[in-house]
């Protein structure tokens, strides 16, 4: 009898303590989540008419650098299909738009206008002018952020039809 009652008390205590522990862990996890004000970071608008060919423009979006590169007609002509598929075309102009972070460990690669490519100083990775990785260690192309083309304005943070198409065809994650 006593044994049964003690066993019950032990189990009851264990259950209450377990619920308390899980609830506390959940509260702690939630306290480390990004704040709503951080998450609601605004959209970034970029006027594409101001871009010069073969000159890299770096915009800031959610604290990350976004590369915008207007390609010269020669660069576009020399591209293969895979590279062209990543271009954002506005009128007759082709643009590279991507998050300017190396997909290895998040350093910012530098643009080399004479070679039309990006070199990451941290671990030596390279990307072509379409943001595709050409030399290890980066495992994948630079990511394309959600974007929407609104006339000649690029809206970063909002997914437009061009972006959805790239996403569904697996060009960006």
């Amino acid at each position: 009898m006593t044994k049964g009652r003690r066993g019950f008390m032990g189990k009851a205590f264990g259950a209450v303590a377990g619920v308390g522990a899980v609830a506390s862990l959940y509260a702690m996890k939630r306290s480390w989540d990004p704040l709503p004000s951080v998450k609601a970071a605004g959209f970034t608008m970029v006027d594409l008419t101001a871009a010069e060919p073969n000159v890299l423009v770096v915009e800031k979006w959610r604290g990350k650098p976004v590369f915008i590169l207007k390609k010269t007609p020669e660069m576009v002509a020399a591209q293969n299909e895979e590279q062209t598929a990543r271009d954002i075309v506005v009128g007759n102009d082709h643009f590279l738009v991507c998050i300017g972070l190396c997909t290895h460990l998040g350093c910012i690669p530098a643009y080399r206008p004479d070679k039309h490519d990006f070199k990451c100083a941290c671990h030596g990775g390279e990307f072509d002018a379409s943001g595709i990785d050409t030399l290890l260690p980066p495992p994948s192309p630079m990511e394309i952020p959600p974007f929407k083309v609104d006339g000649t304005t690029l809206v970063l943070g909002e997914a437009g039809p061009e972006y959805e198409k790239m996403k569904s065809s697996g060009i960006t994650v």
Binding site: K29, W32, D33, P34, L35, V38, A41, V58, K60, R62, G63, K64, P65, T103, H104, L105, G106, C107, I108, C120, A121, C122, H123, G124, L136, P137, P138, P139, S140, V173
Partner: protein, 404 residues
């Protein structure tokens, strides 16, 4: 209830209530240490003292440091360095001690490996020591974030990105750790908390466990000799101190420790006053800028060997190799299949293993600092493969080791 009598002195009053005489015996005068040891056995107390130096200098820095992304850099580089009386001293002491503590940790670790002080009952000493190494690494990393310079920011970016676990792309975890898409205010404040509260408390607890783990297997000696401590202690207490193989922890052993500590402190304060620059990366004197990566990102010297194991491989393999390097030392007592507790010099193939491992880690450290180009990449790759290979062969070479 115990029986209390009118105390004859303050000492007696305390002794009736706290058993201070018994406590003194257990902790000091009847805690037995072997005689057959050398100066390398003093590294534990040198580490304890370096930790105390970090704690004291840290307390003074804490009174003026501001954990705010707009104020942190100036609170360190202007307020503490230029306004606070002797603020520069606390900062240089803290930075140099944080660097030197790893030098001593590595000496302490390799002493343990050389003399086989990690097995046959001493496994928990080794494991608690490795946990301390991990805790000190986390403490060093979190502290490195606080000045909020370029190296702080980019080291924070690179290290937190590791938690996306390569191609698994677990960016949610990275954002959760940072509390933002990139290192920002939430990141700085939580690493500040970790650095000044949670990790130091964990270190203090682990130090207690580490010391406690020594009590039953006792301190190893130069020959790995096992003897009856009670017998030797009786011999010592009976007055035959010459024949006994042990001495008291205090004041006997401690007086030797204090001699080594004094030599160390002369070296330490030489670094603090004349050579502090090695612990202060010039790149970190530029304020954090999320849109500008420094030309070379490299960790402090004590992380270079594991960084170099990460670097020569593709992302996922590099990450696996890095993970391997972080945990494999924990398994040393179980991968060493030999029963021998003896210096490496008497253990045949293990002697070669020890020196190759030591040299390989020095090579990895050197290559980690150099830019990843040409011949350095190749040497780094070979050294990383040697590191992994050494751990693979360890069980086999220790299995065939002759019993001493």
């Amino acid at each position: 209830m115990a029986h209390f009598e009118k105390a004859t002195s303050v000492h007696d009053w305390l002794n009736q209530r706290l058993a201070i005489e018994k406590f003194e015996k257990v902790m000091m005068s009847e805690y037995w240490i072997p005689k057959n040891i050398n100066f390398l056995w003093a590294m534990g107390m040198v580490l304890a003292m370096t930790f105390a130096i970090l704690l004291v200098s840290g307390i003074f820095l804490l009174m003026y440091y501001q954990p705010n992304v707009d104020l942190a850099f100036d609170s360190v580089n202007y307020t503490i360095m230029q306004e606070v009386g002797f603020g520069w001293l606390w900062r240089h002491v803290h930075a140099v001690a944080a660097s030197v503590v790893f030098l001593i940790i590595y000496i302490h670790m390799f002493t343990g490996i050389y003399y086989g002080s990690y097995k046959k009952g001493r496994e928990m000493i080794w494991i608690s020591g490795m946990l301390l190494f991990v805790a000190f690494s986390a403490e060093a990393f979190s502290g490195y974030m606080l000045p909020w310079g370029q190296m702080s920011y980019w080291a924070g970016m690179v290290i937190t990105n590791l938690f996306s676990l390569g191609s698994l792309e677990l960016n949610g975890i990275v954002e959760w750790i940072r509390g933002d898409y990139v290192p920002a205010q939430a990141f700085l404040t939580r690493f500040f908390m970790l650095h000044v509260l949670l990790i130091p408390v964990a270190i203090l607890a682990l130090i207690a466990v580490h010391f406690y783990a020594l009590r039953f297997p006792h301190v190893n000696n130069l020959d790995g000799e096992f003897f009856d401590y009670d017998e030797q202690a009786e011999l010592y207490k009976s007055g035959n101190t010459r024949a006994s193989k042990v001495i008291r922890f205090a004041n006997d052993f401690l007086s030797k420790d204090m001699f080594v500590m004094s030599i160390f402190l002369i070296f330490f304060f030489y670094l603090v006053f004349w050579q502090y620059a090695f612990a202060m990366d010039p790149v970190n004197f530029d304020p954090a800028d999320g849109l500008k990566t420094p030309a070379h990102i490299y960790p402090e010297w004590y992380f270079l060997w594991s960084y170099e194991i990460l670097r020569p491989f593709s992302k996922d393999i590099g990450l696996i190799a890095f993970g391997f390097a972080q945990v494999i030392f924990f398994l040393l007592p179980f991968l060493d299949k030999s029963d021998n507790v003896a210096p490496a010099s008497r253990r045949g193939p293990f002697k070669i293993w020890f020196w190759v491992m030591l040299v390989d880690m020095i090579v990895l450290t050197a290559m980690g600092k150099l830019p990843p180009e040409g011949i350095f990449s190749t040497i780094g790759l070979v050294a990383a493969l040697v590191f992994i290979g050494l751990w693979v062969v360890l069980p086999f070479i220790t299995k065939i080791e002759k019993k001493l």
